[in-house]
């Protein structure tokens, strides 16, 4: 739909009427800043001085009612709506690729309630994750959700793409931690999911919206579990002769108890990043494990852990390296350690059952290293389940093409190759970063005929197709 003449100004008046004049902006500074997130293509594009994708309006609502009214305005004019939390997504999910409205949720950052008896915390979804954690800490609790984006990502963002934190092996992913939400549907209706996540009242409404990446509605409030601070948090590290041995040990451990952190690094990543950040200079597959909880329970867990690791021939490196890993858990993402422009890189995280882990690891490694010159592959397994684990595999290219469009083309082809290798061997497109703009084109391949379920939801809830167009393959 094309807007002629001063129609844009008429629409602006309606938006200002909802949120106030000062919270609707078309300033160049704003559309610039909201045109770059953490998606490699978006940052590369900005680095080469290219025009960012600009929203037509940057809008900042303050209440659920304002969001509801905004949806009605957007639907009437059929203007695309893109939801923005921290803008720290790596998949381009928040990018305003269709222009229109960019909704920054961060004014909606209030704490609603901490219920110490039920062990829950409720907050508005525009709150930065570290602030939520601060509120829990003030009362002596923790959300136990420690993603690396904790200082910039928001609650809404984490829910939107089914995010994960470093303690997930014990406490779960964000979708496990969320009890319920308040959501504004595309038609403006405000709904609430049930007060508890476990019930026998039909399909799980929470899980329809969690992971929907802004395509089916806008989450405005959410309730999460909070946990007591553990009596003991004990770190340890081991060195396996190879990746395969480590996977088997991890699987065995998960059958006995849940460590909070368990991370197994393949040989190349051990040799490079682990050596650089932690200082371990050894050949093999490095694994750090953290057990936490009551001291007596942790003592038992550690005994079992040591037995299992010994069974697979691991060298016990003691607690020093495990502690150092924990101290540096964010350092891995800091300048000088994380890949950065001008390199081309990506995390093709996937998740699978144990029988497919090594198959997928080698298939992806071969597919990337054999088909693309100058690209290397490193991986680690960082989030474990009883039935399998996720593989956090990355490709790195030190000298990508200097032409931005050639770079995009190569980038997307590498992704296709890697992700297809995973899917072919029983893996899933992505474990916890989401689909966004980057991987939408692969959704139909992943789901096959099951895709129609999402498409039906999308059509039913968002008949005008205004919610975050071109994302999630919807």
């Amino acid at each position: 739909m094309e807007f002629r003449g001063y129609m844009i100004d008429m629409i602006r008046t309606e938006l200002e009427d909802v949120v106030g004049v000062e919270h609707v902006s078309t300033k160049k500074s704003e559309t610039t800043v909201y045109g770059v997130d953490y998606f490699w293509i978006s940052r590369m594009w900005a680095d080469r001085g290219m025009e960012p994708p600009r929203a037509d309006f940057v809008v900042r609502p303050d209440t659920t009612e304002e969001v509801s009214r905004l949806m009605k305005v957007a639907n009437y004019y059929k203007i695309p709506v893109h939801t923005w939390g921290g803008g720290s997504g790596s998949q381009g999910g928040a990018m305003p690729m269709a222009g229109g409205i960019l909704l920054d949720m961060k004014r909606m950052n209030r704490l609603v309630e901490i219920d110490e008896f039920s062990m829950t915390i409720t907050a508005e979804t525009g709150m930065i994750l570290q602030i939520l954690e601060n509120y829990a800490n003030e009362k002596g609790y923790s959300t136990m959700h420690y993603p690396s984006c904790i200082t910039c990502g928001t609650i809404g963002g984490s829910l939107a793409h089914r995010g994960i934190g470093v303690l997930s092996s014990k406490y779960g992913k964000i979708d496990d931690m969320c009890l319920g939400m308040e959501i504004v549907l595309p038609n403006g209706d405000i709904i609430n999911t049930l007060p508890v996540p476990k019930h026998a009242a039909g399909p799980d409404l929470n899980q329809i919206f969690i992971g929907s990446e802004g395509t089916l509605g806008i989450m405005t409030k959410a309730t999460f579990k909070i946990f007591k601070m553990p009596e003991v948090r004990s770190h340890r590290a081991f060195l396996f002769s190879d990746f395969g041995a480590g996977v088997k040990a991890g699987r065995d451990i998960m059958q006995e108890f849940k460590p909070s952190i368990m991370r197994l690094y393949d040989e190349p990543e051990t040799r490079s990043i682990i050596k650089k950040v932690i200082g371990v200079d050894k050949k093999g597959a490095f694994m750090n494990i953290t057990c936490e909880g009551k001291a007596e329970v942790v003592a038992i867990e550690e005994r079992i852990m040591k037995e299992i690791c010994a069974r697979y021939g691991a060298e016990d490196l003691g607690s020093e390296w495990g502690e150092k890993w924990y101290e540096n858990r964010l350092t891995f993402f800091y300048p000088g350690h994380i890949m950065d422009i001008p390199q081309m890189y990506g995390t093709m995280d996937t998740v699978c059952t144990y029988d497919n882990v090594e198959k997928i690891y080698w298939a992806m490694k071969k597919a990337i290293e054999n088909n693309f010159e100058g690209v290397r592959f490193i991986a680690h397994c960082s989030h474990w389940y009883e039935w399998g684990t996720m593989i956090y595999d990355r490709f790195i290219m030190d000298n990508p093409p200097s032409d931005p469009e050639a770079a995009i083309s190569l980038h997307n082809r590498i992704w296709n190759t890697g992700v297809r290798a995973a899917m072919k061997n029983g893996g899933v497109i992505n474990d916890h970063h989401g689909i966004g703009l980057k991987l939408g084109r692969l959704m139909k391949e992943q789901y096959g005929p099951a895709m129609q379920v999402f498409e039906a939801l999308k059509k039913g809830l968002d008949p005008n197709g205004i919610m975050n167009p071109y994302k999630l393959g919807l």
């Binding site: 500074s29 610039t32 921290g86 920054d104 950052n109 930065i128």
Partner: protein, 353 residues
């Protein structure tokens, strides 16, 4: 990391209000985008409190490049009108409050009419105290008298360069103002200069050497000065009763000047127990600053509110500050049932001055 600790961004909820956005805008300007008024406005919506530097893993100090971007804004004539008014006020009258230079001089004269020309200690009152919280200056002077200090003040303080530097950057105009102040201070023959405003202290101690301003006396923070007098027994404060009390660390004092203990020592000497807010000491959450308040009071209303929220969640009744700027900014938005107190006014009360 900057986004979870920027006092402005946390309250306005705008992606523009954090160091990442400002760095991104500067990167784009370097890559050919026009540095227009909207870019300049973003640069001025910042307290320069340094919370972002505290946790920035890149090694950059955002306040440094934000000040440089402000110079760029001035050079390119894209400074927003509300900020330009404040700049003009400083250039014309040496203060951000629009108070005429003659008037500030009169106020200084009435603070200490018989101010000596020469003394061991020079108290640099600063415009925040002079124009917005003169009772702090009165209390400090009374304490010096009680302690028997050989001190004086200037009857014309000029502009230290702290406010002008934050508004237009560290350019010749700022350095010239600083040099005039240095001349006046040096003429007193003082061995020590004690500014009441930590922003002035910071600039005198850390920037004057880089600006080749040869300030002869040692620069001491007001809190360290008083803490020392208490330790030496020159001041003997009695106990003061307060409700649940917290201390708000001034951002320049705790971060830039690396001082967190002296104020707490003073409070302890008065028998006051502090309940610490979550973001305290080097992690203090800036109130907003006088400069931001001067041109964007709508923002400081939010930032002050954010700091009061931190206190309210703990059930705090009294928030103590050690900076005339914090006292004024927080004081203007005190919630019902709570109060802000200045540490030197409390000390003067405790010492029966």
């Amino acid at each position: 990391m900057c986004r979870y600790i920027c006092p402005v961004g946390l309250q306005t909820g705008s992606e523009l209000n954090n160091a990442r956005a400002k760095a991104l805008l500067i990167s784009y300007a370097v890559r050919g985008q026009k540095f227009d008024e909207s870019f300049a406005e973003a640069m001025y919506q910042c307290c320069l409190c340094g919370a972002c530097s505290q946790d920035c893993a890149t090694g950059f100090e955002p306040p440094v490049f934000i000040r440089e971007a402000r110079t760029e804004a001035v050079v390119n004539d894209v400074v927003p009108p509300n900020v330009q008014n404040v700049i003009t006020s400083v250039l014309d009258n040496d203060n951000i409050f629009g108070v005429k230079a003659e008037e500030t001089s009169n106020r200084l004269k009435s603070l200490l009419p018989d101010a000596k020309e020469k003394a061991e200690v020079l108290i640099y009152v600063g415009h925040s105290a002079l124009c917005r919280a003169p009772e702090i200056a009165k209390a400090f002077i009374a304490l010096c008298g009680k302690a028997g200090i050989d001190f004086t003040i200037l009857h014309d303080e000029g502009q230290s360069g702290a406010e002008l530097g934050d508004l237009i950057g560290y350019v010749e105009e700022t350095v010239d103002k600083a040099k005039m102040v240095v001349e006046k201070i040096n003429a007193t023959g003082a061995k020590k200069v004690v500014p009441l405003d930590p922003n002035c202290t910071r600039v005198m101690r850390q920037e004057y050497p880089a600006w080749e301003c040869d300030l002869k006396p040692e620069v001491q923070t007001a809190t360290a000065f008083m803490a020392e007098l208490i330790r030496e027994g020159k001041l003997r404060p009695g106990k003061i009763e307060t409700g649940l009390t917290t201390f708000h660390d001034p951002c320049k004092l705790s971060r830039d000047l690396d001082e967190v203990n002296e104020a707490r020592e003073i409070l302890s000497a008065m028998g006051i127990h502090i309940t610490e807010m979550l973001l305290n000491r080097k992690w203090t959450k800036c109130c907003g600053t006088e400069i931001l308040k001067a041109h964007s009071p709508n923002i400081t209303e939010l930032t002050a509110g954010g700091r009061w929220d931190d206190a309210r969640r703990l059930g705090i009744r009294t928030m103590v500050t050690a900076c005339p700027g914090c006292y004024d900014v927080l004081g203007e938005h005190t919630p019902e049932g709570m109060e802000v107190k200045d540490i030197f006014m409390m000390l003067a009360e405790a010492c029966r001055c």
